[in-house]
């Protein structure tokens, strides 16, 4: 199709400006992480005076970064896997069965997505503290408490996306499995789940990213030993001296796996996210 010259120029200019806007912080993060300390303590330099990887080595000593990393990994992995398993069961029920309360369940669960997190945080904090006092189950300040919380956060969206995905899997598949003698759960495990793998992976990544980045609840529900990266990284700034090069090195280190995972699977994520709006 013919494109006007002005259109091409407008495209180059707009896309370049937006690209610069998007990438500037990435450049600052990358360049500062390779700078020696004096470079980040004086006026900003566009390039390191000499390139060093020392920040990537020193960052592990300044704050207990390894412990935060471990906490984040354990919490995010457990919460996302558990959330997807539970969401799969619910999504199968919604996609394949009509039952009393189906509509109410779907709407209630989706509407919880719009509520401000701060509304749940106060009572959840009080509930966790009191559960710990009455029973010996320690939820406040523990990884378990955070895992249960994050599971629930990702649940509504996970159910919504998975139910939409399961709807695209032909029912004839489960019917065929049942003819072969499988019960409804047999058909679910042997036929529906394998066919839904791309959707499951997309939801898994979404859930992992959500848990990995969450700050509000992590800042209140964790203590020194269970702190996650999202809150722990702020620790660099409260030292007597702010090691910006180490902060940038640590930020880069904890971002790379997430960004790569997201970029590899964004197509599936978009498919799931927009599935609801076409219905």
């Amino acid at each position: 199709m013919h494109e006007a010259t002005w259109f091409r120029w407008a495209r180059v200019i707009v896309l370049t400006l937006l690209g610069l806007f998007a990438l500037t912080p990435v450049y600052v993060m990358l360049s500062a992480s390779l700078k020696p300390l004096p470079d980040v303590e004086g006026a900003f330099r566009w390039f390191p005076s000499h390139v060093t990887v020392a920040p990537f080595i020193d960052m592990w000593q300044t704050i207990p970064l390894l412990r935060y990393l471990e906490n984040s990994l354990v919490v995010s992995t457990t919460a996302s896997v558990a959330s997807v398993l539970i969401a799969l069961l619910a999504a199968y029920a919604i996609s394949r069965y009509r039952f009393h309360g189906r509509q109410v369940f779907s709407i209630t669960i989706l509407s919880t997505q719009m509520f401000p997190g701060i509304l749940f945080l106060l009572p959840l904090f009080v509930i966790f503290v009191n559960i710990g006092r009455v029973t010996s189950i320690n939820l406040y300040g523990s990884r378990t408490g955070l895992i249960i919380t994050y599971m629930t956060f990702t649940l509504p969206f996970a159910i919504w996306m998975l139910a939409a995905y399961l709807d695209t899997i032909p029912r004839e598949l489960d019917e065929a499995a049942k003819v072969d003698g499988s019960g409804p759960m047999g058909a679910f495990i042997r036929v529906v789940i394998p066919a839904a793998i791309p959707g499951i992976v997309a939801v898994l990544i979404y859930a992992f990213m959500t848990a990995w980045s969450e700050m509000l609840f992590a800042s209140v529900l964790t203590n020194d030993t269970t702190r996650t990266l999202a809150v722990g990284l702020q620790g660099y700034a409260t030292q007597n001296q702010v090691y910006w090069n180490q902060i940038m090195a640590a930020s880069l280190t904890v971002s790379v796996p997430i960004v790569v995972g997201f970029l590899l699977l964004q197509r599936f994520l978009v498919a799931g996210m927009t599935a609801g709006s076409v219905k």
Partner: protein, 321 residues
């Protein structure tokens, strides 16, 4: 939309059969399948919300924290304190609310415009399109705590990149503060836009993939240029996508905690005192849970009201269109 994207990837999937042909199954199984989800939703969402409404009628401070049933009943006094615009608490809440609305409207409008521009300009294939799309998604993919702490570094007065750039371009003569004072509001808006426009781009791009190309060809034959095609084809066909996208962006931006918290910590400058941080500070820094809960409930009522009006207006508009 899913089908379009899957078809593009060469995945074949038959469309779901129309509802009246579906073989609905009944019985107890669906209820069993829902039990885990229902328990979690009750424990983390529903019950805490009801408890939160309850707490908003109590005089709950740190002294009653481990035994909150002993906290004295406060009636509606928490609400009266929060809504009394002549008192210090009410005035601060109103100030915070006004700032949040302003920040949300600006960030929403700019994010949507950036996302729309980027989506329109990358709609037709050209060399390097895949790379530029990936670049645009990076701000959304980066964890907030890592990217916004970088913005914090960039906005430092003496060591930051922003002031250095302004000095190098001779736009300023002395270094302004960006994280305190009146500039902090603009800093927050820019960072919020940086973070959320890629999401608008992502959703709008996906939405545009379901618009058939022959519609553009027809518009082009009718003499529409690039702008006319956007006005007469793209925008009308994106209506359902935009309806959801704008609402989601509004709720996310309005409720956002991570961006302002990473940028300013738990004590933001008053010019950037966003409502979520304001309530957080009132509850966990001043340890006054009763007033904090009352504020949260008021916030929820406001969001419910906005959402209801928005959806109703959309339905009316859709009928007349």
């Amino acid at each position: 939309m899913v089908d379009t994207i899957r078809a593009e990837k060469g995945v074949t999937a038959s469309a779901p059969s129309p509802p009246h042909k579906r073989q609905w199954r009944r019985g107890w199984l669906p209820y069993v399948l829902l039990i885990p989800a229902v328990i979690l939703e009750l424990l983390i969402h529903i019950i805490p919300m009801l408890v939160g409404v309850g707490i908003s009628f109590l005089q709950l401070t740190e002294f009653y924290l481990s035994n909150w049933r002993a906290a004295p009943f406060a009636g509606t006094s928490n609400y009266r304190i929060a809504l009394n615009i002549h008192g210090a608490t009410g005035q601060a809440l109103l100030h915070s609310f006004t700032i949040t609305v302003l920040y949300t409207v600006i960030a929403l409008a700019v994010s949507w415009s950036f996302g729309m521009a980027a989506a329109v300009f990358t709609q037709r294939a050209f060399r390097g399109r895949g790379v530029i799309r990936t670049v645009f998604l990076i701000p959304y993919a980066l964890p907030v705590f890592a990217s916004v702490i970088t913005w914090n570094f960039m906005l430092q007065r003496d060591t930051g990149m922003v002031n250095q750039l302004l000095l190098d371009l001779h736009l300023v003569h002395s270094r302004p503060f960006w994280l305190i004072g009146s500039n902090s509001f603009y800093s927050l808006v820019v960072v919020a836009i940086w973070r959320s426009w890629p999401f608008a781009f992502l959703i709008l791009t996906a939405g545009m993939q379901s618009i058939p190309t022959d519609l553009y060809e027809a518009a082009s034959l009718d003499g529409s240029g690039a702008i006319g095609q956007v006005r007469h084809v793209t925008l009308p066909l994106l209506r359902p996508v935009n309806r959801v996208l704008l609402l989601v962006l509004f709720l996310w931006t309005f409720n956002d905690f991570s961006v302002p918290f990473t940028l300013f910590g738990s004590a933001p400058p008053s010019q950037a005192d966003i409502i979520s941080i304001h309530i957080y500070e009132n509850s966990f820094v001043s340890w006054n849970f009763g007033t904090g809960s009352a504020m949260s409930v008021l916030l929820l009522l406001f969001l419910l009201l906005v959402t209801a009006i928005y959806l109703a207006a959309g339905r009316l508009g859709g009928r007349h269109a």
